[in-house]
């Protein structure tokens, strides 16, 4: 490579085209190979990340950080795949008893999609936890939503029967039982997250027939129930 290519080759008009083609061919080939080699690993990482989020949202108490294999094992043993009657939510079943639902949700955050899982008690009125497994919010600000000091607030959070079910309030402005502290400096992320969570909750509760939101059907039902 330290010598110039022969003049005969270099002077051909098509030389740049062939040259570009060759370089592209080689580098793309190597990248495809690399991608194939790591594909399974990347996919497994993603799967474990999701399973960990489900377990965490369900209030799984692991003494220390579980290994990827441990997460997968615990997930397989305790969590059942979504079914028709759970409206897309995973179910935590222990000793034959349904203990909680884990509802995956996603929506647009400030920069990109935020994907997460929330754990809900069978009656749909209390959360067991919250976890995010995919987000690209601003590091140090919006990305703080993944930190436990934020997500822990959702444990045992009582939801409002109506809509919105929960709210993110700026620090110190919390007034209701269904409110959690938002993150200072991440207003955009928090406002959007609040919508994502409420929309997911409303839709799920409606499908599950647990809805007591302010829309007409539910309000009528509520009125009948009281009358």
């Amino acid at each position: 490579m330290t010598e110039k290519p022969p003049a005969k080759l270099r002077d051909r008009r098509a030389y740049p085209v062939f040259y570009m083609f060759a370089v592209t061919f080689v580098s793309t080939g190597v990248l495809i190979g690399l991608n194939r080699m790591t594909e399974d690993r990347v996919e497994a990482n993603r799967q474990v990340l999701f399973e960990e989020a489900v377990l965490f949202a369900l209030g799984w108490d692991a003494e220390e950080k579980m290994s990827p294999a441990g997460v997968h094992q615990a997930f397989l043993e305790n969590v059942q795949e979504p079914a028709e009657e759970s409206a897309g939510a995973y179910r935590l079943v222990r000793g034959g008893k349904l203990e909680a639902y884990a509802l995956p949700f996603e929506g647009r955050g400030f920069w990109n999609q935020i994907k997460g899982v929330m754990g809900i008690r069978p009656d749909g009125s209390v959360l067991t936890g919250m976890a995010f497994y995919e987000q690209s919010e601003t590091p140090g600000l919006g990305a703080e939503i993944v930190k436990t000091y934020f997500t822990d607030q959702f444990q045992e959070l009582k939801l409002d029967a109506g809509s919105p079910a929960l709210a993110l309030k700026s620090s110190g402005a919390k007034s209701g039982e269904n409110e959690v502290d938002a993150i200072t400096g991440a207003t955009q992320t928090c406002t959007r997250l609040e919508d994502i969570l409420n929309n997911a909750l409303d839709a799920w509760r409606k499908k599950m027939g647990l809805s007591k939101s302010g829309d007409d059907d539910a309000a009528a039902g509520k009125a009948r129930g009281e009358g």
């Binding site: 490579m1 330290t2 010598e3 110039k4 290519p5 270099r10 030389y15 740049p16 040259y19 570009m20 370089v23 592209t24 580098s27 190597v30 990248l31 690399l34 991608n35 790591t38 690993r41 990347v42 990482n45 993603r46 990340l49 920069w111 990109n112 995919e134 987000q135 690209s136 601003t138 590091p139 140090g140 600000l141 990305a143 200072t184 400096g185």
Partner: protein, 213 residues
């Protein structure tokens, strides 16, 4: 740019030039976008810098190896392709072996492709210099970039979040320190960058006069 022309330089001369004399950030003022974007947490900055050093060294080496075969009129396409090749490799490696960091850095790793320093060194040095010189030049320019980024990142994380590398620091994470959230937000990056460039240019006045000629 000093890297171009003349005979091959010694490693020492290249090191001094990359880190100090011709530092990519405060001398060449290249790669500012990533300087502003990834410097609010030290760990992210470190990984980003490692990614850049690898990409810059390897792409300079490859471009230099191919320099006599690359037709002049399509050299920029070839450079971009080679840079993208190494960046994607770094990205794949992170995704497979360090998924959490890959999540933290989000799109920034991919954006190394458009980091002006890489293209700048390719044009200024790798295209004309032998492979070893290009490799060393790329490495030290990457290092020069990294050092500046850390100088900017450390105060930002410390003042803004009260931590370093994610560990809470005494005093700064305590009740007596009112965290300067603005430091981890985009404006903080501009303040720190301006201060750093000002400070280093003041320490290095002779260069400025030469540049003005």
């Amino acid at each position: 740019m000093n890297g171009a022309g003349g005979g091959p330089k010694t490693v020492k001369a290249l090191a001094i030039e990359g880190i100090w004399g011709n530092n990519p950030i405060f001398r060449q003022v290249l790669g500012i976008c990533s300087t502003l974007a990834v410097t609010n947490m030290v760990l992210n900055t470190l990984v980003m810098c490692a990614g850049l050093v690898v990409t810059l060294s390897m792409s300079s080496l490859s471009i230099s190896l191919l320099r006599k075969w690359t037709p002049r009129n399509i050299r920029m396409m070839v450079e971009t392709l080679i840079i993208a090749f190494y960046v994607i490799m770094v990205d794949i490696a992170l995704k497979a072996y360090w998924p959490e960091m890959s999540q933290n850095l989000g799109p920034y790793v991919g954006l190394i492709i458009t980091n002006c320093i890489v293209m700048g060194r390719a044009e200024a040095c790798a295209l004309t210099q032998p492979p070893f010189t290009a490799l060393v030049d790329g490495f030290f320019n990457g290092l020069g970039y990294s050092i500046l980024l850390l100088i900017i990142a450390i105060p930002r994380e410390l003042l803004g979040l009260g931590s370093l590398l994610g560990y809470a620091m005494p005093y700064f994470s305590g009740p007596y320190w009112d965290k300067w959230t603005i430091m981890v937000m985009p404006p903080g990056a501009f303040f720190m960058l301006a201060l750093a460039v000002w400070a280093f240019r003041t320490l290095q006045p002779d260069k400025q006069e030469k540049g003005a000629k």
